[in-house]
Symmetry: C4
């Protein structure tokens, strides 16, 4: 945890996840709610919102701890990059941050929640499958595979960086300055290219915590929170992230052996 104590890491993960989720859900709200200035800007705008959300979050507090995603933190713990204590700190801070962010988005877009379509309201908070219910296996696959790719890419880039830092200490400058931008571009392309079926969430804190907020907030005429689907964007990203992390670790061993 690079010299920071547990409370500082918790605070960083809480602030960062709040920033990520409030910008991401804010982008969805601006794109789908009726009467907003950005109504109808589509998946490009939504993908940019989440991408730049993680970019800003990592720029602000990422030097302390920069996961903002329980699935990636889980992968980090499983492959041994972080302690399990660090994982549980991330886990709790991220869910509280995601819940807090959902409330801010609701307040910010309060006038636009007077619309009639229940499903639009829910889609601001939680991911929803774009296909008929019998294809839920596709959504499980999408969340699992694309979070796996995210986990693999984040760990591969980080591994490459570690090798380079040993060779040249100045590389750490690049990591600190440019890595948040690259992570943002990674999130962008995963939503753009893998987002046809479910969104996708890629992050339990971005889906479960706001869904809970949708469930308890007094949004008029809000309809059901679709809890039957809620396990998909939690379990599938975690499974995918761990598999992607293990794949990155095994590739690292194969590739480092060649040096």
């Amino acid at each position: 945890m690079s010299g920071y104590n547990h409370s500082q890491v918790w605070l960083a993960e809480f602030v960062g996840t709040t920033i990520l989720v409030l910008l991401g859900l804010g982008g969805v709200a601006n794109g789908v709610l009726p009467g907003t200035k950005g109504h109808g800007f589509g998946i490009l705008g939504v993908a940019l919102s989440f991408a730049l959300g993680i970019f800003i979050a990592q720029q602000c507090v990422g030097h302390i701890s920069g996961f903002f995603n329980p699935a990636i933190a889980l992968a980090g713990a499983v492959v041994g990059n972080i302690h399990w204590t660090h994982f549980w700190i991330c886990f709790s801070a991220e869910f509280v941050g995601g819940f807090f962010a959902a409330i801010i988005v609701w307040i910010s877009y309060f006038p636009h929640f007077q619309s009639l379509e229940q499903e639009v309201k829910l889609s601001v908070f939680a991911s929803r499958p774009s296909v008929r219910q019998q294809y839920w296996l596709s959504c499980v696959w999408s969340e699992c595979f694309y979070t796996g790719l995210l986990s693999f890419a984040v760990l591969s880039i980080s591994n490459r960086g570690s090798l380079a830092i040993i060779a040249m200490p100045e590389v750490s400058l690049f990591k600190e300055e440019l890595q948040p931008l690259f992570t943002g571009l990674l999130i962008f392309v995963l939503i753009l290219c893998g987002g046809g079926t479910t969104g996708p969430a890629l992050n339990p804190a971005r889906d479960l915590a706001p869904r809970f907020a949708h469930w308890i907030l007094p949004i008029p005429g809000k309809g059901p929170s679709e809890w039957w689907y809620s396990w998909v964007p939690v379990v599938a990203p975690c499974v995918g992230a761990v598999l992607g992390g293990l794949f990155a670790k095994s590739m690292k061993h194969m590739l480092v052996a060649g040096l």
Copy 2:
């Protein structure tokens, strides 16, 4: 003020704010006025205009002084990063720059101001709420919260940079070269994700000065300048920026203590 005298700082803030506001309002004009080549490009184009406006302004004169926003300069003075003299220089230069820029935009888009809709003409100059009047509290919240986030993020990134410069002087290169790009991306995502309700202005110089220009310029059939709303994008960003700056400062103390 890094070795520059008061006139030089005034000039830099004037030139920079002029560039920022003329590109930002120019983007709005191209997007909303009838018959332009960019008509209807939506909030993505507008957000890019303001984002790249601040990027270009900081690239040109940001090494002298790079606020271009009285609310952020106020936050800088309150948390003690700049002298109050520097704030008043910024304040006057930025309002003059914003007014000057509005005139340039009017000249540049002169033929397209022959349109009939009064509200479209005003929206080139000043931000307008997208919702019915009874929800003005939402606009106050949006301007306050998102400017607060801007202020928090700008100061957090700057604090992180300061720590890094002590450790490694080469980091200052990154700050000078990449920070304008990162600030631009920050503005972009704040407009994209928080812009559903009011725009938002996030910057008194971008709203009050051009509104004044709209009020005195002989634009044919221009309609009212909606002065009743004009206090919102002035007071709310200032309150938000100061709160965000104080939050960044207190987090800095908490986090530095951990090193």
Copy 3:
């Protein structure tokens, strides 16, 4: 091959091409298949998908081997930058990766392949001319010329980088960190500006391997795989890439002589 053995290079090219093609084809699928969240985002979204696809692929495994395109690898071998052994490793790994990626895209977008239009289904996998058949020569020209420009630009940037590294070793940091981003922007602009007639593929592994996947996969109501056109995005990019590579080499000689 910078210290890596043949299996490691094969693995890197396989993983990288899989990432590039699955993100690129995934972007096409999200943009054209019915009922997806990104339906209709157009050529900007598709160009971003391929651009960021190569960016992510090079960030993950590009320090080992980063062609992901048999035509560019061929140009590298012809101008003498890589051994022919390296070319054949790339060639086989890239076609297997492209085929594997096409299967992943089909699985990911499975529910959306229930649509009726045969041509839309094919266009997820393979490039198709946008004009009537008598203009096939235009497609040959487009694939040849724009891949030639890609090859020329990649080699010119790489040559310039090599000169700079001799002068200042720190430049290698930039190459490793920023070059993938620049290559992505290059791909983006080539599709945006040269993509009116055919797409274009610019890469045999992105067209022939997925077309083969379209041919053998049990996609219901899939229609013909248009094999009559399949030679164009294979032969023309290879011819163009070699010519562009030779042009870059001859310019390098002319320009280095001046130093």
Copy 4:
């Protein structure tokens, strides 16, 4: 001219201008010609085409000579940054490059030039005012002002860079690697924000040379080349660029005095 001889500078300006104009006009062609894959992508796509066109051109040959624009080269000669010989080399190479590029775009989009609207065909080659003829003064203003801003910004950024290089030689790395990207973003925002009235050309080589190509090429049913307007995107950018350059130079003197 940094160690390169006249023929090498001519070749660099020719190749660079060809790349810039063929990507820029190719983007326009893809956006406006009927039946293309990018039909209707609007000013965002066109602005990206020119922006990334200059980015790629500078990445390939910009270390030798990177103007690709006679108006900016003229400003450079007037303020004393380059010799007048260098200007005349740029001038001739850029017009030949622009003409050559227009022919390549015509060949690349040959099948799509079978359309009936004469004005669409011309707009691929030359800029056209979006407003009625009596407002031609607006077009003169736009070309003059926004090219002036381009010239001011390019010279200001370059001046700032020169100061920094004296202080720290590593800065030259940033200049060489990142400056092309920043110039591209500058072009992008100028088209986005100043492009409502005329496009604008901002560059005589991008307008006059392709207009000449339109005039002599055997495009079926092509209509008039609108020579009456052709002086605007030549004279106005040159006047603006010189004024912007002189303003940058006088600011440099004022600001350097403060150090």
